[in-house]
């Protein structure tokens, strides 16, 4: 039933259709499915939104999710989260749904493909300077690379790249390994134990989605003006200072 054989690391290897350069593999297919679920689900849930104090359960659930994400982003960014919510929120929802669907037989999470995680990491890698420039202006943002000294700039750039790679590989490694562990356990002990592992995988999947989204927010926040001001205030007051860069 498994679409992905044990010896196949990534769902990219499962090619369903190919025409010249264009390839339809399991990763893209499942991504489309997840996109469809999210889009249709959102459309269904938001087509009859109530502005009255009494709301439907679906609307309440969505509001809790959206408000929760917005608050988290707002706490990290120290400013209005509305600008970053679509990007970071979508990252979280996509990864979370992708991972949570892991218990469906025949499903291979797109996040277990390094191509997908790399794509998401690239998006973050591009989004960070874009948001930074949007917030501080291009010069203000680029000046940040030359601080405190111009010699530090290569290390800054290296840090940006390495954390992006780490972002991609962390997610890929966790989800791919989880799928493989469940697959191997199914082969060894097909009764009960794989279920426990699968539950654990669901938890890990959700945690990984949260970590990916939080790290992305932190990276974006580190490029913002508010973060800079906060950091400089910490330096000037002599309190403990340090980079907010979080590594996996």
């Amino acid at each position: 039933m498994e679409i992905l054989h044990l010896d196949q690391i990534s769902p990219d290897a499962v090619v369903l259709w190919k025409w010249k350069f264009f390839t339809l593999n399991a990763t893209i297919l499942y991504t489309w499915i997840i996109m469809a679920i999210l889009t249709v689900g959102s459309w269904l849930a938001t087509r009859n939104l109530s502005t009255e104090p009494e709301t439907s359960r679906w609307q309440s659930l969505l509001e809790v999710v959206v408000v929760g994400m917005r608050n988290q982003i707002g706490e990290i960014c120290q400013q209005d989260a509305g600008r970053y919510l679509p990007f970071i929120g979508t990252l979280f929802l996509f990864i979370a749904i992708s991972n949570l669907l892991g218990f469906v037989p025949g499903y291979a999470p797109p996040t277990s493909s390094l191509s997908t995680t790399a794509a998401l990491a690239v998006c973050v890698f591009v989004a960070v300077p874009l948001y930074g420039m949007w917030d501080r202006g291009p010069i203000g943002y680029l000046k940040h690379f030359a601080e405190p000294s111009l010699f530090i700039m290569p290390f800054h750039i290296l840090g940006e790249v390495s954390r992006t790679v780490a972002l991609a590989v962390r997610l890929f490694g966790n989800i791919m390994s989880g799928s493989k562990v469940v697959g191997i356990l199914l082969a060894i002990t097909p009764l009960l134990f794989p279920i426990v592992m699968q539950v654990l995988e669901l938890l890990i999947g959700l945690i990984q989605a949260y970590i990916f989204a939080i790290l992305s927010t932190v990276y974006i926040a580190s490029a913002l003006k508010a973060h800079e001001e906060k950091e400089s205030f910490a330096h000037s007051s002599g309190s403990l200072s340090g980079s907010t860069t979080v590594s996996g």
Partner: protein, 258 residues
């Protein structure tokens, strides 16, 4: 190769499309709905606050009004009490006066009736007493008494003053007749005595005409034109009756005055 660059590009495009779709279908709508609801709740809260303030103001106003009405009510009650007390006093006073007046009238009426009754009773009693007395004296009259009466009459004539004698004598001069009325037949001896006495004391040339009248109780009367000399029990009784009635009248008047 774990990374398929076509897939990477496709996934980037997929992700960006998903961002756009979710922004349109999820975040925008949810945030809008929440903002609208928040605005609505805020406006409702503000409205509720306004209404609460209005209600508080109205409550305070009604409290003041109630206090005013309460004070007015107490004033009105005390005023009404005073008025009713005064009215009651007036009524009582009027009632007392009316009762006094009725009582006075009643007393007056009773007194009048009493006086009238007493007067009537007195009169009747007097009349009865005198009627009985007259009857008794009439029944008791006999020869000796008639003789005594003649004697008493003669003494009265004798005791007349000069002026009285002259007046009677002058009144006799016209007709020359003196009428002697008695309740009994005067005996001859008595008639002689009377004649002699009259001739001696009143008029020497007159004639005497004797008549018997039952209403002259045990007595004798001498009548001329315009003059009369009489002695009888009836005279005493009439005089006594007059005196008694006058005394009763006087007594009833003094009682009525009191």
């Amino acid at each position: 190769m774990l990374i398929d660059w076509f897939t990477v590009v496709a996934q980037i495009i997929n992700f960006l499309i998903l961002v756009f779709l979710l922004k349109h279908f999820l975040y925008g709508r949810i945030i809008n709905a929440m903002d609208q609801r928040e605005a609505r709740i805020t406006s409702r809260l503000e409205e509720a606050e306004t209404q609460r303030k209005e209600a508080e103001n109205e409550a305070a106003m009604f409290k003041l009004k109630n206090q005013y009405i309460e004070s007015q009510r107490e004033e009105m009650i005390s005023s009404a009490k005073e008025e009713s007390e005064s009215f009651k006093k007036d009524l009582m006073q009027k009632a007392r006066e009316e009762i006094d007046s009725i009582q006075a009238r009643w007393h007056e009426t009773v007194e009048k009736q009493k006086i009238a009754f007493l007067k009537d009773l007195g009169q009747r009693a007097t009349k009865e007493v005198f009627a009985v007395t007259r009857q008794v004296l009439k029944d008791l009259a006999d020869k000796d008494l008639e003789q005594q009466i003649v004697d008493v009459f003669i003494r009265r004539v004798e005791k007349l003053s000069q002026e009285e004698r002259r007046l009677i004598s002058e009144s006799v001069n016209g007709s020359g007749i003196i009428l002697i009325t008695s309740a009994f037949q005067i005996p001859d001896e008595g008639q002689v005595k009377i004649l002699n006495t009259i001739k001696e004391y009143i008029n020497n040339e007159c004639q005497i005409d004797y008549q018997i009248a039952s209403d002259v109780i045990s007595g004798i009367e001498l009548r001329t034109v315009g003059h009369k000399i009489a002695w009888s029990f009836d005279n005493y009784l009439a005089s006594l009756e007059t005196n008694v009635l006058e005394a009763m009248e006087l007594g009833s008047r003094s009682e009525g005055a009191e």
